[in-house]
Amino acid sequence: MQHDTPTVFVVDDDPLIRNGVRSLIGSVGLRVLTFGSALDFLRSTRPDAPACLVLDVRLPDLSGLDLQRELRKSDIEIPIIFITGHGDIPMTVEAMKAGAVEFLTKPFRGQNLLEAVQGAIARDRAARQERAEIAELRKSFGTLSPREREVLGMVVTGLLNKQIAAELGISELTVKTHRAHIMEKMRAGSLAELVHISDRLRSVPQRA
């Protein structure tokens, strides 16, 4: 399986629409995987590649909105494009609040769906990139000793070596050594870069 081929998942219980959407999206060269129910989709093993989900709101058993909730609960981040036969306003609001990227009312034009799909995939690609980078940074952070983490916290708040040494009751030279190790382990070329890395680590909540 090619690592970066974008995949579009389609979940709709109506085979005419499912196959129409599959054909339409396939015509622009994207990989399409179709499912007749939300449970089928949940049970599937999905390729690790940029993707988006075209999801019918009204489905037997688990509805489209239920599936959206399930995915959030399981930390599965995938942009969702909802398609619906009767998009009432409360339903649209709920779906968009929960992070849907688009809401198309049937019948919709193929071009609109394709644009939404391309946008969603670009978004997912960026999100995946971001997640990979953060994971990398977190791995680097994990190699820091407790003392180095302490020093890092003080460095990024703008304290001078002298101040840090006084604060921790160690020599200024020792602080300098810690800093050099930190810069190396975090692969930061400058203080500015180190501050930026620290910000990125902080902005993403730690998850269990």
Partner: protein, 474 residues
Amino acid sequence: MAKPVMLNSGIDVVGDVAAWGAHFCLFYETKQDLLDTLISYCKSGLEREEYCLWIVAEPLTIEEARAALKNAVPDLDRYFAGSRLEIVPARDWFLQGGAFDGKRLTASWYEKLASLSARGYPGMRITGDTTWLSKKEWTHFCDYEDGLNEVIGNQRLAVLCTYPLAACGAPQILDVVRTHQFVLARRHGNWDVLETATLKRAKAELKGHNEELERRVVERTGELLKASEALREAQAELARVTRLTAMGELSASIAHELRQPLAGAVTNSDACLAWLSSQPPNLDEARAAADRTIEAATRASDIIRRIQALFKKAAPVRLRVNINEVIEETLGLIRSDLLGNNVSVQTELGPQLPPVLGDRGQLQQVVLNLVKNGIEAMSGVQDRALQLRIRSARHEPNQIVVDVADSGAGIDPQVIGKIFEPFYTTKLQGTGMGLAISRSIIEAHGGRLWAEPNTPRGATFQCTLPADIESNAA
């Protein structure tokens, strides 16, 4: 206010003036005057199983009274034997113990009445003569008469006092009139009732009460009518809203049902176009998408067919219906609407029309819709009488035509083609379905329904229905 229990006095002229509790008097000139009135007074009481006491004084004797009464009541002895009638001399009765004692006398009436009631008598009627009265007793007697008025009101007792006119001077006449509820006297040879001021006042009060009562009844009836009208309107509004809600729900689910295959058709058509314009074109994919498009469109038309079947429900009933009966029944149903809107209806129903084959209820609905439509069309008219004309006639040998003409605002020629379209309405509270439904009913019966402007004003709705000639001849 309880209605007084009426007393049949037996005296024509007294009629319904008297009820139980009557205390009245009579001025007489001759013996015949007394017999004229007292015989029928007593006879009437006897016939009603009442106890009668006739207190006689000159010029009548006990024997004369008894003989005259026997003439009128052949089995008089039976009443005497049963102690239901007494004829007694006045002096013995009034002057017991040698002198007149009004209090004792009044008390004796009540004792007697109580024992009679206990024995099951419906009441007691008394007549007593006063020729025995001397000047000495006059004032006492007047006090007694006056006192009787105070207490007689609630008793099943009637007292008729007879006074000889010749023996009474003007002061005595005034006393008598004052102490009785009403007076019988001869006037121009006929008996007449003279009412006293008290009775007049009482009657006036009674009349006042009755008028007040009547006014309240009218007022209350008006309120009830208004309330029931409001209730009817509320019910109609509720029915309309219910209908609209049901229609709204139905149309939402129809819309969803149809959107699904339409979305299938659009998506697959778009996919088809995409495969056709790809380089090189992928005809297999394009064909597959086109096939799915056809399938989706077919599904949409199946859904429409199912919806139509849903509305048609059962096969319509076709029975022989007299259209004039349908018109008359419907007008009966909508009479309160017509009255409420001051609309008068003129019917010109053709005689001996052949029947039409149809569903009576549906035809009634058409007539109802047309009449209501006419009423509503005239609702804004102020300057002329609101008149609706309904005609039925035979038109050609095998056709019946019914028309409903109003003198309302008429129909804007711009919209005359639209008024039969579903949901078209010019009214604030219309569903816009009445005329559309009416037309579909008439067309289902093999007829036509259309509208024409009226001269000088208003509109005429006309429909034709095929006459059922064969089964008529059979």
